[in-house]
Symmetry: C2
Subunit: 387 residues, 2 copies
């Protein structure tokens, strides 16, 4: 069932009341909504183990909540590992998901007790064999589209299927456990059939591995499940059901363990970024458009508006008699610090300095993405609530 | 005289020796080179007051060095103001250059003693009159190209000439000091004639102001003077001479005070970012290109490689018998974290894990641009030296 609204009136009112009296800009994060979302994922993917992609939001309270809910953790760096372990997550609940690493990093992670690693190239497999002997390894593959397209951004991670098979054999020969295959269909993937094509490729690899006496025991189908922003998308139960059908079609009775790595889908909707209008201006007397400058911008949490990629739902705390399209920009002296000038938002014509704007679905990739002190501005504050 | 090399052999050797034994990634910043550059600017622009654009690099040691050299400071936020004043810079050496601000910010800055403000819209002029009475105000104007072009990024700051004249009159009527006009031709501007067009516009405004009994006493010709990266550019003395000729042509004997706001041009070349190769891989057995993954990327200091905008000179600490084009990427799990895949750099074919790469001209917009903890990675460290 397609869905679109992020928060109902009551939830929005709760966020607004918690925001009273706090100096903007800040992110309000609702741990109650996070818990709800976690249960929705469990129910939607009853056949999968959940590994929270910590990079989406590494806030301690979020990690603790997910730890208590029974989640596992997908880790991108030794720093993230130190953080989750300091918060009481045991190493058996951790997967080291970053294919980019050297021998020192592998040693460090292995010494901490982690025994599951992503990989996608020969030098890394050899380092893993030397520094993390016997560990479970899963090979990340390039998926359709990313493999054939000329837009090679998504080629940063993963290898081609042939190489994946070779590397699984190499891993086995070097004493590693050739455990599984992973892929990532791309963040905020609204086309569920992307998983179908990727799973078909895993099936092909699985058959090839059988001829090498390796039986595929795990498929990591990545993250990419969308959070609700502006655009229409399916809900999580729909994703869960349809992807299960794809898996059944390819693997029938002999199903490997399925791992999912949700980041954005778990935390985005539980966050509301509260900002204030700093200044409203026109560039000339007869200018058609107003520029609305806020106290937050690309370098203070809204980096995913770069290229206007993510169009956050926006709520204005000001009931104006009429609205008009505006350009939205951040407070720094950087001309890149403009959120939306092509996708214009309509805001009240009598909007003024001090009015508040609420950015919904901002729980992912905001606080940790902030710059240290660009133009002197401090990083975004985060407050947790239990709505 | 066109120039291209950033560091001579001796300077490079000095950086390399200071880099020994420190864990990568980090920025090495040479305060001696900064001093040299400051003197070069003074000599090249003997007719101008220098206001260092703190946002380019807000490191305390840099501010202190420039304070001692007699520089003034262009400030983008109350946080930058607090920082420079805590380091002993007095308010009379500060210009508040950010047009985006509200009444509270103006009050704060005025209370600290600052009496010079940039502005570009009516509401701001009214706030300044109310909260910073009597202060010097300079109006930022849109420059040719930015005003007419369809690429409206550079429209974020500034107003049209007609409005600038009106606002100067308004400022005077409200008890402010209608002091000057400012413009910014764009960062890393290698076409000196951009200043000619902008100055002609200021002359036009100046003539209009005369009819309103306002005499223009200051022109802030901004920053934008290039640092040496890969591309050919003129040296600073050439900029200084040619821009002086433009000013003479427009203003003859009656020259307003000239202010320049160098950021990048002062600090970029004094910095070297030291990184290490984390992993080298091919995506398939017959792949033509190698991927070289470093321990630093877009979120750890190299954000200006976004869109491959800045092409830093790169030095490899490895003498290979032959070289080959590679794709350079950062260490995070983000597919955007790729420095160069169109503008390929040639690196030794036997490049391997642990080899060091030195990024020259990285003293500007690196450390302060870093993310707080994206993928868990800490911000870039900075060490100062006196080469």
């Amino acid at each position: 069932m397609p869905q679109q609204t992020v928060l109902d009136a009551e939830q929005l009112a709760s966020f607004k009341s918690h925001a009273v009296g706090k100096q903007t800009p800040f992110l309000l994060f609702d741990l109650g909504l996070l818990q709800k979302k976690y249960h929705e994922l469990e129910t939607s993917f009853p056949y999968a183990s959940i590994y929270y992609a910590v990079k989406a939001n590494p806030e301690a309270a979020i990690i603790e909540k997910l730890r208590d809910l029974g989640s596992n953790f997908d880790i991108a760096s030794i720093y993230e590992l130190d953080k989750v372990m300091a918060l009481g997550v045991t190493a058996d609940r951790v997967s080291f998901g970053n294919t980019i690493k050297n021998a020192n990093i592998i040693k460090y992670v292995y010494d901490k007790g982690v025994r599951m690693f992503a990989s996608d190239c020969e030098s890394d497999i050899r380092n893993l064999a030397a520094c993390a002997p016997g560990s479970k390894v899963f090979l990340r593959i390039l998926t359709e589209g990313s493999e054939t397209a000329d837009w090679p951004l998504s080629k940063k991670f993963g290898c081609q299927s042939d190489l994946a098979v070779e590397l699984m054999v190499l891993a086995k020969n070097l004493g590693l456990d050739p455990y599984g295959i992973s892929f990532h269909v791309g963040s905020q993937q609204r086309d569920i059939s992307a998983w179908d094509a990727a799973l078909a490729k895993v099936k092909f690899i699985s058959d090839r591995l059988e001829t090498q006496a390796i039986s595929l025991r795990m498929i990591n189908i990545g993250g990419g499940f969308p959070a609700i922003y502006g655009a229409l998308s399916h809900d999580l139960p729909t994703y869960g059901q349809i992807i299960k059908r794809f898996i059944d079609e390819d693997f029938g009775d002999k199903q490997p363990l399925i791992i999912i790595e949700p980041g954005r889908a778990l935390v985005a909707e539980a966050g509301v970024l509260v900002s204030e209008v700093m200044m409203v201006s026109r560039k000339s007397r007869d200018a058609l458009q107003r520029w609305v400058y806020l106290d937050v911008g690309l370098f203070g949490g809204l980096i995913e508006t770069l290229g206007e990629a993510i169009k956050y739902p926006l709520v204005c705390d000001h009931d104006g008699p009429s609205v008009q399209d505006v350009i939205l920009a951040g407070p720094t002296c950087d001309s890149m610090d403009i959120m939306y000038e092509d996708n214009l938002y309509s805001l009240p014509v009598d909007l003024r300095e001090g009015d508040r704007l609420y950015w919904l679905s901002t729980g992912a990739y905001t606080t940790s993405y902030c710059s240290v002190e660009f133009n002197g501005f401090p990083p975004l504050k985060l407050y947790t609530i239990n709505g």
